[in-house]
């Protein structure tokens, strides 16, 4: 009896109700899977971006729905010295801070790539500036740069190197350099860790081969490390430039754009004009005016640095 039952047994066809069939439908499944991401992006990214671009072409102020004014906001900005000052400082800030971050970050990455005692501990320490929330480190710098209570001034005076407190943020140029230094300090870990990851993908046998070929330490860096690091350098630099150019927190927390608007970045100026100043249209126009700079910076580092024929592996003859 059981033997015949076993012989005649067939796997029962699974009974499919409408829900199962629906979830087997490929088109439905694609829509279902995309929906959360598309929804979030639309609500929190596309809509604000679109609204910001729209506002830039209106004369909206807080509490008053504006009307379309065409390029009027931009025309006004073009004749506004404070705007041009912010453009200058944004470019200067990004340029100098990027150079500083990459010089120091690369140096640190090269050091960490050697065999050091407590290597993983050191690597963890390097990341600290980056994992501290920006506002917290900004406040710390605010204290470090404080005209009265600055620890740097205190140390210098105690050591007898200075008579008076250092002026960090109360005149234009010292304030600019102080902000740049704070940004460099904060940006180094990102650069160092990313470049360290890049360094570790370079096969040690290449260095051994170069050593046998007679390369000195500098030549090994110049002819092996640097060219092989370029693709990663380009990507990290692109990100770094974007983050630095759009920086807001450090400047806003330390100087709020002062003294006398001399340290406004485009982002802080946009906020200043738009929210406390109430000129939403003008603020949006300043924010929109960052787009060409960002597109240019991205394209530059992408095309100038990232495309390397040796990586692509296609024949070139």
């Amino acid at each position: 009896m059981s033997a015949t039952a076993a012989e005649t047994w067939r796997r029962r066809a699974a009974e499919q109700n409408w829900l199962v069939r629906l979830f087997d439908n490929k088109a439905f499944l694609i829509v279902m899977c995309l929906l959360p991401a598309v929804g979030l992006l639309t609500v929190f990214l596309t809509y604000p971006l679109g609204l910001g671009v729209w506002l830039a072409f209106t004369d909206t102020t807080i509490g008053q729905r504006g009307v379309f004014v065409g390029l009027e906001n931009f025309e006004f900005l073009f004749s506004d010295p404070i705007f041009w000052n912010a453009v200058f400082f944004s470019v200067f800030y990004t340029g100098v801070a990027t150079i500083g971050k990459f010089a120091l970050g690369l140096w640190l990455a090269l050091l960490l790539n050697n065999h050091l005692p407590f290597k993983s501990f050191l690597r963890a320490i390097i990341l600290l500036p980056w994992i501290v929330p920006t506002v917290l480190s900004a406040i710390a710098f605010w204290w470090i740069y404080d005209p009265q209570f600055s620890i740097i001034s205190w140390v210098l005076i105690e050591l007898g190197l200075r008579e008076t407190n250092v002026d960090f943020i109360n005149t234009a140029w010292p304030a600019r350099w102080s902000l740049i230094w704070a940004n460099i300090w904060r940006g180094i870990p990102f650069v160092a860790i990313s470049l360290l990851a890049g360094l570790q993908t370079i096969s040690p046998s290449l260095y051994e081969a170069a050593m046998l070929d007679g390369a000195t330490a500098w030549q090994r860096f110049r002819y092996v490390t640097f060219p092989m690091l370029l693709p990663i350098l380009a990507i990290v630099m692109t990100f770094s430039i974007i983050f630095t150019f759009t920086d807001f927190q450090l400047v806003y927390a330390i100087t709020r754009g002062g003294p006398v608007n001399s340290t406004h970045l485009l982002a802080t100026l946009a906020f200043q004009r738009g929210i406390p100043g109430g000129q939403l249209g003008e603020g949006a126009a300043i924010a929109v005016s960052m787009v060409p700079f960002l597109v240019f910076a991205t394209l530059f580092s992408y095309f100038a640095l990232a495309r390397r024929k040796w990586q692509q592996g296609e024949t070139n003859d």
């Binding site: 096969s203 046998s205 051994e208 081969a209 070929d213």
Partner: protein, 348 residues
């Protein structure tokens, strides 16, 4: 070109001893193969020759000059790495010319030397390609070209063929040998493949656990292995080794096996009886054996035989028609039997 003398060289990584006093004397123009299982220290020895590892004890001399404290670039050696270590961002030409570029050679010299090496290796058409655009065999050739251009006193090869497929490996093997015959540069070659060692070497150094088991000409190692390790390592398929004792003028193995002894064998004692598969022959009068598995390779037939309680591999020129379970009497070629001391593993 130069001689290489390795004198009682030792290496330790921290407390882990890797080489326990290795001595090899290499004549000018010789092709020496260091062979052994992985972890035997052969690559470490090569890297010490290159100057990529420092020497814990002993001395290495190249061309009579002790190089223990000479940096790699001043040792006048060139090395071909297992993964080729080609600079991926340089063309074939730039890869090969790199050492000259660092030395400040003028453009014409670089062109001339690279062209010369490229011609030897058949790379003329590929000079403007990047390593990525080359096949494994071509990359291998570029790595050799980079070494040739240096015009070194000694070539070092670190398992250069292990990343290639079987067919290419055979082809590159003869190319390397031909290259050596043409350039006559002293060469030290590391491999774990005993066939590479046998086919290429003037001198084979068999290493195991950081010691040299035996060194000598390939056929010398094949004909007179000094111990069971060399006997088992050199030759393919590997030698059959039966543990047993000698009594009444015959070898008594496990399960009542009785094998004839070679002339000059001791009258008694515990021994290991070694006979290579290819030295067994079909003999109707021979020892009773049962076929377990038949593996025809075309040129010969390998048969796994059951004799008493032991499995023995035989390799015969004849084609075997019988299948598993059939009887196949065989007898060893008595003059080619190797006897080893059971305790020490040394040849008797």
């Amino acid at each position: 070109m130069a001689t290489v003398d390795i004198r009682d060289v030792r290496k330790a990584f921290g407390s882990t001893k890797v080489l326990h006093g290795v001595s090899v004397s290499i004549e000018d123009g010789q092709f020496v193969v260091l062979v052994g299982p992985s972890g035997c220290g052969k690559s470490t020895l090569l890297r010490m020759l290159a100057g990529l590892e420092n020497i814990t004890g002993g001395e290495i001399a190249i061309g009579g000059r002790v190089v223990n404290n000479v940096p790699p670039k001043d040792r006048d050696i060139a090395m071909v790495f297992q993964n080729y270590a080609l600079y991926p961002h340089m063309t074939v030409f730039q890869n090969m010319a790199f050492s000259m570029k660092l030395a400040g050679a003028p453009r014409e010299v670089m062109e001339r030397e690279v062209q010369k090496a490229a011609k030897i290796l058949g790379l003329e058409q590929l000079l403007h390609r990047f390593p990525r655009q080359l096949s494994g065999g071509q990359r291998q050739r570029v790595a050799m070209g980079r070494a040739i251009v240096r015009n070194p006193q000694v070539f070092l090869f670190d398992e250069p063929l292990s990343n290639l497929d079987a067919k290419l490996r055979v082809q590159m093997r003869s190319e390397i040998k031909e290259l050596h015959q043409r350039l006559k540069v002293t060469t030290v070659y590391v491999t774990h493949d005993q066939i590479e060692a046998m086919t290429m070497a003037d001198l084979i150094v068999v290493m195991n656990h950081g010691r040299i088991e035996q060194s000598g000409a390939p056929l010398e190692l094949y004909d007179r292995p000094a111990n069971t390790f060399v006997a088992g390592f050199i030759g393919s398929p590997a030698m059959n080794m039966l543990e047993g004792h000698i009594a009444d003028g015959a070898f008594h193995g496990p399960g009542g096996v009785r094998w004839p002894l070679p002339p000059g064998a001791p009258a008694s004692g515990e021994v290991i009886y070694g006979i290579r598969p290819e030295h067994l022959r079909l003999d109707p009068e021979g020892i009773a054996a049962t076929i377990q598995v038949v593996e025809p390779t075309g040129s010969e037939t390998q048969v796994l035989l059951r004799i008493g309680e032991t499995s023995v591999l035989g390799a015969f020129r004849e084609r075997i028609a019988e299948g598993p379970g059939a009887a196949l009497p065989v007898s060893p070629d008595i003059s080619l039997v190797h006897l080893f001391d059971k305790k020490t593993g040394q040849r008797i």
